[in-house]
């Protein structure tokens, strides 16, 4: 989401207005994206095409909402599905997130999300089986115990097998990972200064810092603070926008089957967008100290009572 595009641009050193940056807007994985590069370095047509191709391939492979995706093939009972080479880093990140959160971040939450109504048809009504209950841990499929991966080599694809009906949902880190993949396309085309903004999950490259407002989770016209950084990624997660009835929303703890309470928004800055995205979800369930044993990041976390907590090294300010 963008601030007012008519806002003044930064004056350059000699006091003249800097020329407006070049922007490329597109829709991908159900939301709005924008790539910003310096005025003098617009994306060429070939680069734009490569970006669009990249996001389409990702969506086609990993979307739980597409009947033709690899994820859907697995859910429908394919014994083994071959994922492309870009899958392994993402799956490995989930391995680490799953371990660090003691199972709170788990792609297999997908089946539960569908039960609760967050399915390909956007039913948004919990099925009878969706009544909140604490599943028996012994019966519950988990990412490390249920999904088997084999890979011929780190550079090849990865074969995934899982019982029929296993729904993999990559919502926790998938969009951040796609931001990283798009950034790779830009770097391959020679770009070193850019912002890839996938609706608020963004990667920055270059020496000029970017200032990003931390959107108030209950009022999108307001911000609770601002982050300013360069050469890093920022991701946000909030439980309000994709909420539906009866206290249900899309950030679900697979260990209890219930949507997360208490924490209502998180922001994470990290070296990769995939990591920042995954940690933004993890912070709904897991203490920052616990996560800091495994990952390096800075963060802001806001609670339902209006308090926000930030790590001392968070590059920005909160409005108190």
């Amino acid at each position: 989401m963008l601030a007012d595009p008519s806002a003044p641009v930064d004056p350059s050193a000699d006091g003249a207005l800097a020329p407006r940056p070049s922007r490329f807007d597109f829709e991908a994985i159900g939301t709005h994206w924008q790539i910003e590069t310096p005025h003098s370095q617009p994306l060429g047509p070939a680069t734009r095409a490569a970006v669009l191709e990249r996001v389409e391939a990702f969506d086609r492979d990993y979307s739980r909402f597409r009947p033709d995706s690899l994820v859907t093939a697995l859910a429908r009972g394919a014994a083994e599905v071959d994922f492309p080479a870009d899958a392994e880093p993402l799956f490995e990140l989930y391995d680490r997130l799953h371990a660090a959160t003691e199972g709170a971040v788990d792609p297999l939450v997908g089946a539960r999300l569908e039960q609760l109504g967050y399915d390909a048809e956007y039913t948004l009504r919990a099925s009878p089986a969706g009544e909140p209950s604490v599943p028996d841990a012994r019966d519950r499929p988990t990412w490390p115990t249920t999904v088997t991966r084999t890979s011929a080599s780190p550079r090849s694809g990865v074969s995934v097998s899982a019982p029929a009906g296993t729904v993999i949902d990559l919502g926790a880190a998938g969009k951040g990972y796609l931001v990283d993949l798009v950034a790779s396309v830009l770097r391959d085309a020679g770009h070193t200064e850019y912002v890839v903004d996938g609706s608020g999950d963004l990667a920055h490259s270059g020496s000029t810092p970017v200032r990003v407002g931390l959107e108030h989770p209950l009022d999108p016209s307001k911000a609770i603070g601002v982050a300013e950084f360069a050469g890093l990624s920022l991701c946000a997660s909030a439980s309000n926008r994709r909420a539906w009835g009866g206290g249900l929303h899309h950030i679900v703890d697979p260990r209890t089957g219930s949507p997360a309470r208490e924490v209502i928004a998180t922001w994470v800055i990290a070296s990769s967008t995939a990591l920042a995205d995954g940690l933004a979800t993890a912070l709904f369930f897991t203490g920052a100290h616990q996560l800091a044993k495994t990952f390096h990041f800075s963060y802001v976390r806001m609670y339902a009572d209006g308090r926000a907590e930030r790590s001392r090294d968070f590059p920005g300010e909160l409005f108190a």
Binding site: M1, G213, P217, L218, R261, D305
Partner: protein
């Protein structure tokens, strides 16, 4: 008057995120008067936040609008903490979409809750206030990402069904 904004958070949280608000007792009253002074007390919660049928207090007469009927709402919420199932009772008094009174029983008694009252040795926790995005000189905003068209349409459908 800064507490108004903060209490509004409690209200919307009740609407969308069920009832784990105020376990730390911060929303109970002017415990956390912050000195910012930007008294933007007349803004209403975003429709997106309030659009969900609210918690048990008002679930039966949810109209999907972003305003609430004046009155006192009572609700019991339960949540699973690392120490097991916990329950709280919340009573809210609303007037003109502003929470004028909140009672939460019991108040937080569980210092071990992983996600609550995490007082880090190296962290800072404070009550925050919203400033208008167009007043803070940012080029971008990061918040609740990814609201797809299909999702938004479905929410609209539910709201009209509930009306």
């Amino acid at each position: 008057m800064m507490t108004t904004r903060q209490k509004k958070i409690g209200l919307s949280a009740l609407a969308g995120v069920s009832l784990s608000v105020a376990l730390a007792g911060c929303a109970t009253d002017a415990t956390a008067e912050s000195g910012s002074g930007s008294a933007d007390t007349d803004s209403t919660p975003a429709a997106s936040a309030a659009a969900t049928p609210s918690s048990t207090a008002a679930a039966d007469d949810s109209t999907g609008s972003s305003t609430y009927q004046d009155g006192t709402y009572e609700a019991t919420g339960s949540y699973t903490s690392p120490n097991g199932q916990e329950e709280i009772d919340v009573s809210l008094t609303l007037a003109g979409d502003v929470i004028t009174a909140v009672t939460v029983t019991p108040e937080a008694t569980n210092p071990n809750s992983v996600n609550y009252q995490t007082q880090f040795a190296d962290g800072i926790s404070e009550v925050v206030v919203g400033k208008d995005v167009d007043e803070i000189d940012v080029s971008r905003v990061a918040g609740s990402s990814l609201t797809s068209g299909g999702f938004n349409e479905a929410v609209e459908t539910i709201k009209s069904d509930a009306a």
